[in-house]
């Protein structure tokens, strides 16, 4: 499989990365190079093989459902570009 300019433009949109028309051609070539490289996986017979979900077999840890942390609003917004009263500020979302 390979990608064309329109597909790369759409993928960039999905990834929320602005791509200029100048960059598009280079990206198409690079992404197709990588997709051609991974194409060799089609040689492998994977029928009856389970996809890996956990590299070391382990049970998901559980803990008692209780509050163990909190009241750290100042810490949480400390690195944000724009905040007001412990809220993150963003451009208007709903008109």
């Amino acid at each position: 499989m390979s990608v064309d300019t329109d597909t790369v433009r759409k993928v960039a949109q999905l990834a929320r990365i602005r791509v200029t028309d100048n960059d598009l051609d280079g990206l198409v070539g690079e992404l197709n190079g990588i997709l051609a490289f991974v194409e060799q996986l089609n040689e492998v017979d994977v029928s009856d093989v389970q996809p890996m979900t956990s590299v070391t077999p382990m049970d998901m840890k559980q803990r008692i459902d209780e509050v163990t942390d909190g009241n750290r609003a100042t810490d949480i917004v400390a690195n944000a570009p724009q905040t007001e009263d412990h809220y993150f500020l963003v451009p208007k979302v709903v008109e």
């Binding site: 602005r18 690079e30 190079g33 996986l41 994977v46 590299v55 570009p81 451009p91």
Partner: protein, 492 residues
Amino acid sequence: MTDLTKLTIAEARTGLNAKDFSARELTEAYLSAIEAANPALNAYIAVTDDKARAMADASDARLAKGEAGALEGIPLGIKDLFCTEGVHSQACSRILGGFEPRYESTVTANLWRDGAVMLGKLNMDEFAMGSSNETSCHGPVINPWKSSGSNADLVPGGSSGGSASAVAANLCAGATATDTGGSIRQPAAFTGTVGIKPTYGRCSRWGIVAFASSLDQAGPIARDVNDAAILLNSMASVDDKDTTSADIPVPDYRSAIGKPIKGLKVGIPKEYRVDGMPAEIEALWQTGIDWLRDAGAEIVDLSLPHTKYALPAYYIVAPAEASSNLARYDGVKYGLRVPGDDITSMYENTRAEGFGREVKRRVMIGTYVLSAGYYDAYYVRAQKVRTLIKRDFEEAFAAGVDCMLTPATPTAAFAIAEMATASPIEMYLNDVFTVTVNMAGLPGISVPAGVDNSGLPLGLQLIGRPFDEETLFQVGHVIEQQAGSFSPKRWW
């Protein structure tokens, strides 16, 4: 005073306990060395000198009271991927510019608990994506090694290039690093240092900036095998804050060093003899086999038939996980924000300006292979191949093999910008011997074993059973005893 920087961690600990010098003197020696070397090597991107002095003074106070920890007074460099409270933690990406976390990663907290001193944050490939440390937003790191008869600057490997360069040039006693596809072992091999990627789950990932969560593991880069064991003992822990942290006690790795390897079965996987491998690497591998056989190990030829598919499967799995992990960089919660007409264009502008070229490429590949209609063809297939890669190893270990010996890298260090015109795939091939280990979640160590015709260091890799880092230290030490140690000639 500069002689103090030549001591191994073990030697420095002995000197500190004997009051031959103070922790403050040791730290000052490293700070002077960094000041002199860093303009040339660019290994550190932030030097925390005030903090280092305060931590060293606190170590001296504990030493005086007889309360020294296992790493008391030992000055370390920390890869920029580790969150350090109140200190620059940027993953060498513009998108995390100015980020100073309000918390400490578990691995670094373990080191400070044991008395270590932080010298500063080390350069790396952006978000740990790279094999040459050339994708950092702070510019490339220079390898302290040079080819004989050439003055060209060489790469230290990546992504932990700053860690490897700093350890090789004596700008820290040891360093933290991380390894997703080879990012500890490849730079260690390129700089004549020892690097170990432990078993997935051995070190907590809490507080480490995520790249590919099912592959990322922290580990040390050190001057010798013994120092690597000391550092891993402190870095590894069982951590409730990481659900993939293994609930297995951390053994005393140093007790494995010096144990005879007589009767150990060492596997030699034939698929690692790749086309176009330089003759000197092939010869080094054979030398390593001879050393281990002479020390009493039983050498077993074996096959790992899915080896060649590890790298292509990695370049689906790792970008897929990265595209998901890096979705959090949106200009809202931390780091860079580039304004736009509306919230979507703010996201798009921020990520366009904040991410470098390699990171964008991987996020886009990951987005593509996870997108509707392609998920099964790419991602699910790659995870199935990953099951087969792991099965190859399981079968070899079930047949009684204790560890495997392979080359660490297909080449020695190359020149800065040498790969600039190469395709991304050519750069990815650097990890051809290391990436299988991440795909199977196994431990792997790179130990310096010789030099090539240009006098550049080369490493051998040992691959172990899950949670059997001890055998890697035990066998790695035998290689080290035979090969000796390798230090660059100072030019900076």
